[in-house]
Symmetry: C2
Subunit: 320 residues, 2 copies
């Protein structure tokens, strides 16, 4: 029955040891006083490539056999997964081809190439990236590393919760940003096994409430591509494999507005002295905006990434 | 002969244990590759009140006797020392009066009051703050806690280097931002005792080169009040007690321009994902700008503080 287990997450942790960063857990008296709980912030902004995505990508690639490694990997991503696969491939001694939108930020294209990957661009308004990536992988006999809907990817992301609970002990609730649901699926698998009774709470941008709707409907619902500043969470439907895990283990999906996300980014900057990208700040935003019903005493929050350029940061924070 | 010793710094560390944060030491492959050294960044931006100043203030206040604690303490500061003394006083169970310029940023005035201190303002263009503070302390029988020129303050600041070298082992060089010289005096005392042969290198804003000039002259030199964005280092002459230590233990004082400081703040934001105030970024700026002659293999850098509001950050980084 259990398709993904704590054992898988622990095995991923062994593969990641000495390769991924064991990211710091931040606490803040100001934050605790403000929300009335003891809060533990798992800062994946300090992970390699600046986001949790490295964990899943490396775990998946490190499980490939010699022949697969000779042929290389492929991935599609406009964001952090691109850099994650590029770096993980290089570290695993293989090559990567990454399909990216031709209008992706030049810094992201450059960063991905900087890790040694070949970048193939496409027009995101007219071409279907999944079909293109599948074709690309198959033509070149490369193994496709999906951004979330893959057990090894989920198991890798689950090491975030594993490290957090290993270090601070049991938690009453864990707040996790949700895009495709891979981070949540891995974290929920690890956390509910390590801390029985923990409340797993997903956080989505209000415009991208596909998980909230899907949980209510009891099945995956597809919405329009969300318009939100939380680009890492601008996904229109939950993953197939991730949702099978999350519908079973997640208590609720709470929503935050873009304005609340910006306020959380400002709080992170001024009070925590750290940089968070919009998606990376969404779970913190839910906490600060009082979106968690019956907030318990000991609360974990995943800060999932910090990849926001100065120019975009200045534009986003212009109104505060 | 030795007026300040590693023993004093260790005693300060005992007093600070469980009160000050043991701040994280950050490393960055990108940074190492860029400068060609193995760099260890001691991030005092994550210290209580957002800067190293808490260490010295708390160490000094915790050494006061019962009668002094009953009468309370006083300090003058337009910056981080104000909040440091305010918080340290509260934690030590005493009261603080802080003399601050009437045109200090409202957020700093509010933060100091927020820690429970009484704030007395003065006109920085017509009144002498040292005289005023001395008078204030004497009238109210309060103990004056100076921002740097005091052995207990220096010993507290020295715990920055103590923690760094305890954790990462011996270093070939340690780069420290220099304003009044208290952080450097404490760090140089600890570091040269723990890692004999370590090169202590101070970093000043180019406009505020009073330590560089003083070292060259063999005595304390006074310059005009420096115009620099590094407000924590805008001091016109080295401290008396600090310079007696630093002239003996510091190899050189290197200079960085405001533009180089802004570039280091941008690097910290985009690559390290952390927030640094201008003074807090100056030693990193010297490293990035290639200001360190014969850069050795293992280099420590003190990132001394992260107190910069969003509005000021946006204004400073506007040109990058």
């Amino acid at each position: 029955m259990t398709v993904l287990s704590l054992t898988d997450v622990r095995a991923a942790a062994d593969r990641l040891a000495g390769v991924a960063h064991r990211t710091p857990i931040l606490t803040s008296r100001t934050l605790d006083e403000r929300v009335g709980a003891r809060v533990f912030l798992k800062a994946e902004s300090f992970q390699r490539i600046g986001a949790f995505k490295f964990r899943g990508a490396y775990n998946a690639i490190s499980r490939l056999g010699p022949e697969q490694l000779r042929s290389g990997v492929a991935a599609y991503s406009s964001g952090n997964h691109a850099q994650a696969v590029a770096l993980a491939a290089r570290l695993a001694g293989t090559t990567a081809v990454i399909l990216m939108p031709e209008d992706a930020p030049p810094t992201k294209l450059a960063a991905t190439r900087g890790y040694g990957a070949e970048v193939v661009t496409y027009d995101r308004y007219t071409q279907d990236r999944t079909a293109l990536a599948t074709e690309l992988a198959s033509e070149r006999r490369r193994t496709l590393i999906p951004p979330y809907d893959h057990y090894d990817v989920m198991a890798g992301q689950g090491t975030v919760a594993l490290e957090l609970i290993e270090e601070v002990g049991p938690l009453d609730a864990l707040l996790v940003p949700v895009g495709g649901g891979g981070l949540m699926a891995g974290c929920a698998t690890a956390a509910t096994a390590m801390a029985p009774g923990i409340r797993m709470i997903g956080v989505e941008p209000a415009a991208g409430d596909d998980h909230a709707r899907s949980l209510a409907a009891g099945e995956r619902v597809e919405i329009d591509i969300p318009r939100t500043i939380a680009d890492g969470q601008a996904i229109s439907t939950p993953g197939d494999l991730t949702f099978a895990v999350n519908r079973r283990l997640v208590e609720s999906f709470e929503l935050v507005t873009d304005r609340e996300i910006v306020a959380a980014m400002a709080f992170a900057f001024e009070r925590l002295k750290i940089v968070l990208e919009p998606s990376g700040a969404s779970a913190l935003a839910a906490l600060l905006a009082g979106r968690i019903p019956g907030l318990p005493e000991r609360v974990g929050v995943v800060l999932s990434g910090g990849n926001v350029g100065l120019e975009r940061f200045r534009a986003l924070l212009g109104d505060t």
